[in-house]
Amino acid sequence: MPNGRDRDQIGGMTRRQFLRGTAVLAGAASGLLGMPRRVDSSPAPSGTLTVSLPARIVGLDPLGPQAAEEPVRVVSAHIFDTLVAHDPLARRYLPALAVKWETPQPTTWVFTLRSDVRFHDGTPLTSRDVKASLERMIASRGPLAPLWATVEAVEAPTPTAVRIRTRSPLGTMLANLSLLAILPADRMAQPGFFDRPIGSGPFRVVSYRPDSELVLEANPAYWGPAPGVRRLRFPDIPEVAARVTALVTGEIDLTYGLPPDQVASLRSTPGVRLAATPSYRYYFVWMNFKRKPFQDRQVRQAMIYALDVDTMLTTLMKGIGRRMLAPIPSTVFGFAPQRPYPYDPRKAKQLLAQAGFPDGFATSMIWNPDSGPQDRELAQALFSYWNAVGIRVKDEQAERAQWLSRLLKLEWDLDFQTNGVLTGDADFVLRRLYTTQAHRMGYANPKLDRILAQAAETLDQNARKVLYADACAILWDDAVGIYPCELIQTYAVRTRVRGFVPTPNFPVFTRVTV
C-alpha cells in the first residue's frame, strides 16, 4: 500500500540505507507468516538505539493514571498507534489509524479506520478497540480523562467506522485523539497485560524490567513505514551525572533534560552533538487574586516591571530558556505575541505608590524544588528583583506533594512553577486554568470565560486562533500572571545517531537510524 507518507520517508534516508533496503526479504518473510505482503521500499531496520529518559518509566499503560507522564508518553508513542498523528512542527494533524474523518453535525465525529492494521500478536485492529480504549481512558479518571469530559457516546457501527458523539462541539477533538493510544479491547483488562503490552505501533515490547530497562524491537508487520532501528532500548538512569557519563562513554546514544552546566560541558565533548528545540513547557508566577494586594492591577504590573527578565535568562538559563511573549509558549496552537513588559524598576515603584504601597509590602511565594531546570536560581533572582522595589517575599519552598495541595487550595500569595501544554493546544492551559470556574488563582473575568468557552466549542481552527489571540491579550494586559520564560529542550545525541528531529512535545525515534 504505497501512500504519500511512505514516499516522504524515502527522502530522509541515505543512499546506503536505501540500497541496504531488503524489501524483498521482508516481503518474503511476511509471505511465509501468512501476513499480507507489504509493498514497502523503506530499508530494513538495523542497529540498536539506546535512549535514557530524564524520568523513569513508571508503567506502560497509556490510558491509566500515569498517562500524562512524559516517559510514559514517549514509550507509548512507539508501541501504540493513535487515530490521528500530531505534527507539532507544522501544527497539523495527519491521518494515522484513521484515514479520514468528517463531522456530519458539530457534535458528531465519524472516523474511517484503515482495515489493514494488526496488533503485535496478529489480531486485527477494529473500531471496537478504539471504542474500548476511549472508554477506558474516560473511566480511568486519570490526568487525561478531563479532555474527554464532553463525550456522550462512542460507537462502533462497522469494524472500520468509529462515531464519537459529544454533548457540545469539541474543538480539540483531533488534538485529544492524537494522545489516545489504541489497545486491544479484549485483552487490555487482563491482569499482567501492561507487563508486556500489545499495541499496533512501529515497535513491539521485547522486555520490560521496571526501574531498569525497557527493550523494544521493530514491528516487522507495521502498516506504516518501517522504523529505522531494529532495537530501541530505554535504560533507566536517574542520576544526571551517571547519565551524562553513560552518554560520554557511548553506553547510551541520547538523553535530555540536563541542567545548563552539563549541557555546556557536552558542547565540547567529541562524539556528542546537541539538538535544541523550544518546548511546550514554560515558567510562570501566579498572584493570588483572593489575597491582598494582588486584586490591584497596578500591583500586579509593578511585580512584572520590577523584573529584568532578559538578564535573568542570559545569566541563569544559558540557552535553555527564552523570553515568553504570551501566557502560552510560542510553540502552542493559539499563541499570539504580546508586547513584553520592559524592565523598569522606577515605574514599578511608582505603580506601587499609586496603589498605596510607597514602601512596598511583604508577601510570600510557594514553589517546589522539582519544578524545572534552574528553578532555585530563578526563584532567588525573583526575590532579589522584587526586594529592590520594596516587595519583600518570604521563600516558602515545599516538597511537591505539599506544594500541590496548597496550590489547589489557594493557600498562597505567589506561586512559581512550570507547566506543560500537553496537547499543544491553547485550550489545555487557558480554559483549564484561567476561567472563573477553574478557580486556580482566583481570577474572574466573564468576558474571558465567554471567549474560552466559545473557542473550545468551535470546530473552525482559524476562528479558534482569533479567539485565543483575544484571550492571550486579556491575560497579558490584565497581568494575571508573570510569564518569564519558555523552556528550550536540549537533546544530547551521539554523532552516530542520524535523522533525529527534536520536536516541542516529546522525542520520537521511529525515523532515527544508527
Partner: protein, 306 residues
C-alpha cells in the same frame, strides 16, 4: 530452643503489627494527597474527588485501617496507587536487586575490614594504625552519594573500565557495592581493632604465645573467636544502615531495588507500596537479628537458648 523460637516469632509478629500501624498512620498524616499528585496541577477539583473515590481514599482513616488489616490477614496488601499492580508484587520484584547489593557490600566490607583491623591492632599506635583509623573515619563520614558520583567520574568516565549505571554482570556490581561497603568498612574495622586490642592483653593470649604458638595461630584460634560476637551483632544491626544507604546508592547507580521504589512511593504518596516496603524491611530486620542471636550459640558454645 523451641520455646525460644516461639517467643521470638510472637515478638516479631507484634513488631510487624506495630510497624504497620505506625506507617499506616504516618503516611496519612503527612500533608499531600496521592490522588492530587496523580491528577497533577492541571486537574480540576472534580477529577481529584473522583479519583479519591476510586482509590478508596475518601473513607475515614480508621475505616481504611480496618479494611486494610482485614485484607492483610488474607495476605492482600492492596494495589499500588501508581503502578497499577499489587504492591507486594512491585516490592518483591525489586527485592533480589537490593539483596544482591546488600550482600555483596557486606561480604566486601568483611573481607576488607578484618585484615585492616587486625593489621592496626598488631601494629598498635604505629603509622599503619593511624592510617587505618583515617580510613575507618572516612568510611563513617564520607556521604555515599558523593562517593558514588566520584567513583563514576573516575572509573566510568575517566578510566572507562566500569559501566556507569544499571544492573547487569559483575562489572555493574563493583561500583555500587564498593560505595555501600565503604560505610560498613569504617564501622567494622574499628570494631575488629578495638576488640583485638582488648583481647591481646588477656592471660590466655599470653599463655598461647608462651606455649610457642605463631602469631597467626594465636589470632585465628584464640583471639578472633572472642572478637567475633560483637561484630556479628553489629553486622545485624547495620542492616538498617545498609538499607538506608541502598536508597541513595540505588538512585546514583540506577540500581532497580527497593530503596528507589520506597523513595518514589513516599514522594508520590503511594501508601500501599510504602506500607509493604516497611513491612518487608521490618521482617528482614527481625529475621536477620534472629539469625544473629542464634549464631551466638555456634560462635560461643557457652550460650544456650531456653
Amino acid at each position: 530452643m523451641a520455646p525460644y523460637l516461639v517467643r521470638r516469632f510472637v515478638a516479631t509478629l507484634v513488631a510487624l503489627g506495630g510497624a504497620l500501624t505506625i506507617v499506616f498512620v504516618v503516611v496519612r498524616i503527612v500533608p499531600g494527597d496521592p490522588a492530587l499528585l496523580m491528577v497533577g496541577p492541571e486537574g480540576t477539583r472534580q477529577d481529584v474527588m473522583a479519583l479519591r473515590q476510586r482509590l478508596g481514599l475518601d473513607r475515614p482513616v480508621a475505616d481504611q485501617y480496618v479494611r486494610y488489616l482485614l485484607a492483610a490477614a488474607r495476605l492482600d496488601f492492596g494495589e499500588s496507587l501508581r503502578l497499577e499492580e499489587p504492591a507486594v508484587q512491585a516490592v518483591l520484584q525489586r527485592v533480589p536487586a537490593t539483596a544482591q547489593l546488600a550482600l555483596s557490600a557486606t561480604v566486601l566490607a568483611v573481607l576488607v575490614s578484618f585484615p585492616l583491623g587486625i593489621l592496626a591492632a598488631l601494629r598498635h599506635r604505629s603509622l599503619v594504625d593511624h592510617g587505618v583509623s583515617v580510613i575507618s573515619l572516612l568510611g563513617q563520614s564520607v556521604p555515599n552519594f558523593w562517593l558514588g558520583i566520584m567513583l563514576i567520574v573516575v572509573f566510568a568516565r575517566t578510566l572507562r573500565v566500569l559501566p556507569s549505571a544499571g544492573i547487569g554482570g559483575v562489572s555493574h556490581l563493583i561500583l555500587p557495592s564498593t560505595t555501600l561497603a565503604f560505610l560498613l568498612v569504617g564501622v567494622l574495622t574499628r570494631l575488629v581493632r578495638s576488640g583485638l586490642l582488648e583481647v591481646v592483653c588477656e592471660d590466655y593470649i599470653r599463655s598461647a604465645y608462651a606455649k610457642g604458638l605463631a602469631t597467626v595461630s594465636v589470632l585465628t584460634r584464640h583471639a578472633l573467636p572472642n572478637v567475633v560476637i560483637p561484630i556479628v551483632t553489629v553486622l545485624g544491626l547495620q542492616l538498617g544502615q545498609l538499607l538506608a544507604g541502598a536508597v541513595i546508592v540505588e538512585t546514583v547507580f540506577a540500581w532497580p531495588g527497593v530503596g528507589r521504589l520506597l523513595v518514589d512511593a513516599i514522594s508520590t504518596r503511594d501508601y500501599p507500596v510504602v506500607q509493604v516496603v516497611v513491612l518487608i524491611i521490618t521482617a528482614t530486620f527481625a529475621l536477620v537479628n534472629l539469625v544473629v542471636d542464634l549464631s551466638y550459640a555456634y560462635l560461643d558454645p557457652r550460650i544456650r537458648y531456653l
